[in-house]
Amino acid sequence: MANGSGRPLSPHLQVYKLPLTAVMSITHRITGVGLAVGTLLLVWWLVAAATGPEAFARAQGFIGSFFGLLLMFGWTAALYYHLCNGIRHLVWDAGKAFELTDADRNNKVVLGATAVLTVLTWIVGLAAW
């Protein structure tokens, strides 16, 4: 070992390639923080609706703009990721699915469900617009 002790070293994060499970763990946190910031849009939407038609039209106009749609798309994906991976965390909290094979499979389940739900939501959303 590099430190000459013969004892295992913990991964050096700058050169260590994170496994998918680790990447998904930090992504859960990042999407959580992103969604917290995204709540500002919810506040604007509701307060604008309570203020009156002009304020509401401004908020709806922003959401319908290119930048607004981009934000909404990112927000949708982050929301579904955090939702699906959050359910996975609840399964872990119940003491289940800790084996590596479970983790590898559930990585794919969460990523697949996030992609499918995001795309489906936008197909339905754009059709309903």
Partner: protein, 131 residues
């Protein structure tokens, strides 16, 4: 301890600082409870947003005049902000190690979260009651 020890410290003094009494799991539990509540609330919210993309003011007001929708929107806002401030607190505790900065951020996040939640609730109530 007290029965066989040569120490003069009381059992309470020995136990202090070793862990929580009763409330240690409260934060963890409230994060899970709000997470579970947010599963159905989020599904409702996504459908609600899809149904009101590009809607005019009258359509939105009509939506929030329904008691069910108003209650669901209030719950969504309150539980979301509760969950958000609880999660952000953990993130801050993990990455900010200067005590006063950590405390300032946590207090700021909590105050802002509950203020924004209150704004959402007032907005929904105003639309619901308003003419």
């Amino acid at each position: 301890m007290a029965s066989n020890s040569k120490t003069l410290r009381s059992p309470l003094q020995v136990a202090r600082g070793l862990g929580s009494a009763k409330h240690g799991t409260e934060h963890w539990w409230s994060q899970r409870l709000t997470a579970i509540a947010l599963v159905p609330l989020t599904v409702w919210f996504v459908f609600g947003v899809i149904g009101h993309l590009g809607a005019d003011h009258a359509a939105f007001v009509a939506w929030m005049k329904s008691p069910f929708s108003a209650v669901m929107m209030v719950l969504t806002a309150v539980v979301t902000f509760h969950h958000a401030q609880s999660g952000l607190q953990v993130v801050i505790e993990d990455y900010v190690h200067v005590e006063w900065q950590k405390m300032a951020l946590i207090i700021g996040v909590k105050f802002l979260s509950f203020a924004l939640a209150a704004a959402c609730v007032l907005a929904v109530v105003k639309i619901f009651i308003g003419a």
